[in-house]
């Protein structure tokens, strides 16, 4: 625990020292810059803070947003409108700022509701963010003299402080928001953001409320952006529709892409560099400058998807090969309060399926499936390829999947709940393929699995991970506990399977859905997993539903077996009954199953 504190302190110390250096640069800058560069820089620093938020939204969470300019415009217009039409003074200024931030937050929330929901595609979300500034600009245009329409508003009363003061305000704003952003992306919550970027679907099945997190981040970014817009308008004494336009929104993206998305500092540096350079160059080469930016942008997207920042850090590593990226050490511990299996009760079956059907158009994948799985029971589901096994798993873990019928988890009807809600009812699901979160470490993956139970710290990191005994067992049996700081993309197939299972267990489910957990494993690895599964049913009273191809493995560990064929339950019974059944043999042998009639 002491460890925890020192590390956190050191992180905060780094942020603190970085901020101090930044603030020192800002403090002395006005004395070295001429009045021209100073005034260009003031506006650019406000824009750079916006680009920083674009990097968090796009570079870290993976939402390609064209709409950040809308929030910038909202902040700017809050300033322009209030000072022009209502009044000016410290009270009015604070009120206008508050109006701008609240309006931006509301619009961001509405956009989030519209753009992010389980099953929305990233393309769709992107187009929504594109529509936002276009509609907002239209509104500004049509509001006539109130907003000044195309001409904008100018010459409203504002604080005519000296340029030095404004540079300090803009600089302090940029340094503090960037420091906040840096702490955020380096925190445990930052790991969650990366996980959403890399594998959103998997996050949802770990019980992480992906859409809510995305919306929350949109709102936070919108608030920072609106504050920047407010400062920009108050300094430059003018607001115009283009401040809210999608042209500016795409410029933010261009700067972010060139600077290096997901690097936080790269986009900030790029924004400052490109804005000041374009002030110099666009006058002499108006059209060529735009062309040049366009060509460089396309080239960078195609050839250098991480922008120019990695080139710089790469060079740094080349010069100082010893400086390696810092990886946080985390320790494992036994979670003494583990609730694994506690929900199991004999009276209500953990999993109850009634007349479940799934159709794709005229194609019936599942028809009238009715079954019950009990606590302390390992239910095997077998059937030939295309029998609907994986679809059944999907229908249990996502309320939107089934066409008809009912699924109850621990007595709760899942209705049309999205996956992360179903997880809350006690379902844990592992997947057939082993795509995890490539750039996260093993410890981070486990932390992710605990998100629903432990949450994630916004600006800090937790160094100890409390897990249930079976999860710890799997980790030690597969040797993963020795490599907690290893990135998952470096793991062997068997280790990935082990981690997958450990993650599902870490989320403490009462109903465990396993889709071919032993595919591609060696005999020894299979035995380890089999042992753990048996123990989970016996000692922790878990209800396990297992899809398997390997009949021998099923026979070894299952209590009961359901045979699916062409979307219907062909047979249900004990292992021996099923294995000796002629019907099942014929199905597996590929015979016609008229005998079933």
């Amino acid at each position: 625990m002491g460890d925890d504190r020192t590390w956190a302190t050191s992180r905060f110390r780094r942020a603190f020292i970085g901020s101090l250096i930044g603030l020192a640069v800002v403090a002395i800058a006005p004395f070295f810059l001429d009045i021209y560069l100073t005034s260009i820089l003031i506006r650019t620093l406000f824009l750079a803070a916006v680009v920083m938020t674009v990097d968090i939204i796009w570079g870290w969470v993976g939402i390609l947003t064209f709409g950040q300019s809308a929030f910038f415009g909202i902040g700017a217009y809050a300033c322009g409108l209030v000072f022009t039409h209502y009044g000016f003074g410290p009270g009015w200024a604070l009120g206008a700022l508050a109006i701008g931030l609240i309006a931006a937050a509301l619009v961001a929330g509405a956009t989030g509701w519209l753009a992010f929901f389980h099953g929305s595609s990233p393309l769709y979300a992107s187009i929504m963010t594109l529509a936002l500034p276009i509609i907002l600009t239209q509104v500004i245009f049509s509001a006539g003299t109130f907003t000044g329409s195309s001409s904008g508003l100018s010459g409203f009363p504002t604080y005519y402080w000296s340029l030095e003061v404004w540079l300090w305000i803009a600089g302090v704003f940029l340094v503090l928001t960037t420091a906040g952003g840096w702490l955020l992306v380096r925190s445990d919550f930052g790991r969650v953001m990366i996980a959403i970027r890399e594998n959103e679907l998997r996050c949802a099945y770990l019980g992480i409320p992906v859409s809510r997190i995305k919306t929350a981040l949109m709102i936070a970014a919108a608030i920072v952006t609106a504050a920047a817009g407010f400062g920009y308008a108050a300094f430059s004494n003018v607001v115009a529709p283009e401040l809210a336009g999608f042209q500016l929104g795409t410029e933010f993206l261009i700067w972010t892409a060139l600077g290096g998305r997901g690097t936080l500092f790269g986009p900030v540096v790029a924004a400052i560099g490109i804005e000041t350079t374009s002030s110099w160059l666009s006058g002499t080469l108006p059209f060529l400058w735009q062309l040049l930016i366009g060509v460089v942008f396309v080239t960078v997207i195609v050839l250098l998807p991480r922008g120019f920042a990695p080139l710089c850090t790469g060079l740094w590593r080349y010069v100082r090969p010893k400086s390696r990226p810092f990886v946080l050490e985390r320790t494992l511990a036994l979670d003494s309060d583990s609730r694994l299996g506690q929900r199991a009760s004999i009276d209500t079956p953990p999993l109850l399926i009634e007349q479940l059907s799934r159709r794709y158009g005229s194609l019936h994948v599942l028809t009238d499936v009715t079954m019950t799985a009990r606590a302390s029971q390992l239910l095997g589901i077998i059937g030939p390829n295309g029998a609907g096994k994986t679809t059944l798993m999907r229908c249990i873990s996502d309320g939107n999947e089934r066409s008809d019928g009912m699924v109850k988890i621990n007595g709760n009807d899942i209705g049309r709940a999205s996956p992360h809600k179903v997880v809350e009812h006690g379902v844990g699901r592992s997947f057939q393929n082993t795509s995890l979160f490539d750039s996260l470490t093993i410890a981070e993956c486990l932390m992710l699995a605990r998100y629903r139970l432990d949450g994630a710290q916004l600006f800090r990191n937790k160094t100890n991970l409390a897990l249930s005994q079976p999860a710890l067992d799997i980790l030690s049996a597969t040797g993963l506990d020795q490599r907690l700081t290893e990135q998952t993309k470096n793991l062997s197939h068997g280790m990935k399977r082990g981690l997958e299972l450990a993650m599902v267990l870490a989320s403490e489910p009462s109903v465990l859905l396993l889709d071919e957990p032993t595919a591609g494993l060696t005999h020894a690895e299979r035995a380890v997993i089999g042992k753990v599964l048996s123990r989970l049913t016996r000692e922790y009273a878990l209800c396990i539903v297992l899809i398997e191809h390997d009949l021998d493995f099923v026979r070894e560990i299952s209590d009961r077996v359901v045979v699916l064929h062409q979307g219907e339950i062909l047979m249900e019974g004990s292992v021996d009954e099923v294995v000796s059944s002629e019907l099942v043999k014929s199905v597996y042998a590929g015979h016609q199953v008229e005998a079933a009639e």
Binding site: F117, S126, I127, V298, I301
Partner: protein, 278 residues
């Protein structure tokens, strides 16, 4: 009422023609071509060049289609193909391409407005009203295009391969379909449709370096809402275009301009599949 009906029909026709190139690319390649607006513009300038060279304005449409197809193949090879597994980056790269095309046009033709003569001027009488003849032509072209594109997808070898790629790309490759080639062709056809559409609508518009941009967002909305089928794109154009005309006529044209975006966004929020299925 007759005027309203004709307005709706011809508006839907224009929207359909303008969006069809985007639809086939989204359907087969699962990516949104942000250079679509620039392709429309290229079509407009092709029409301008053809008529400036003294040829019949009707020739400009096939000329734009050919030009677009070849250009589309080049763009696909250089920019889109390296980004197949990064669809969001493909959006950005095509957007950047749009900027580049716009600036090249500006450098070549200047920023000003160019004029293309209307091949079919004046009005014709239909349903008891005088109506713009050229708009009716565009509507007829739209109907023919629905039939032609559906036939292309249903009846030709390319269409069969494309549908296989739409359904399951890995499987299609397993069946020996050269999916890379299908994609290249798709992008070429999409670009050809966009350029031809640009040339087709030019007589109703002016030709300038930004002429394609205002169509972009409405086109995105229409294709997102109609999945991968041309008939459903036509239905979507008819319904949303109709809504736009009705709002413009009875409320005001500024609200009308936002109608398609707002309705499409709400429909997609409630049913992410849009009109493509139920």
């Amino acid at each position: 009422m007759a005027v309203l009906a004709l307005d709706i029909l011809t508006t839907a026709g224009i929207l359909f023609v303008v969006s069809s190139g985007l639809l086939i690319i989204l359907g087969v390649m699962k990516l949104i071509n942000f250079a679509h607006g620039a392709f429309l513009t290229v079509g407009g300038y092709t029409a301008y060049s053809v008529s400036a060279a003294g040829y019949s304005p009707w020739l400009s449409i096939p000329a734009a289609a050919i030009f677009g197809f070849v250009g589309g193949l080049v763009v696909e090879r250089l920019i889109v193909r390296p980004l197949y597994d990064r669809p969001l980056d493909a959006i950005l790269a095509t957007w950047g391409l749009g900027i580049v095309i716009g600036q090249l046009i500006t450098l070549g033709f200047g920023r000003g407005v160019q004029f293309v003569p209307t091949p079919l001027a004046g009005t014709t009488e239909l349903l008891g009203v005088d109506y713009s003849a050229y708009r009716l032509v565009v509507a007829i072209v739209a109907v023919l295009l629905v039939i032609a594109m559906s036939a292309l997808l249903k009846l030709t070898r390319f269409g069969l391969n494309a549908r296989a790629v739409i359904m399951d790309e890995t499987l299609a490759r397993g069946l020996g379909i050269d999916s890379t080639r299908v994609r290249a062709w798709t992008f070429g056809i999409g670009a050809a449709l966009a350029c031809a559409a640009g040339a087709l609508i030019t007589p109703l518009l002016s030709v300038d370096p930004n002429m394609g941009l205002p169509w972009l967002v409405n086109s995105f909305m229409l294709v997102l809402i109609s999945g991968v089928s041309f008939p459903s794109l036509f239905v979507a154009s008819l319904i949303l275009g109709g809504a736009q005309v009705v709002v413009s006529t009875y409320a005001n044209p500024i609200l009308g301009g936002m109608t398609i975006v707002v309705i499409a966004a709400l429909v997609l929020r409630i049913n992410p599949k849009g009109f493509s299925r139920g």
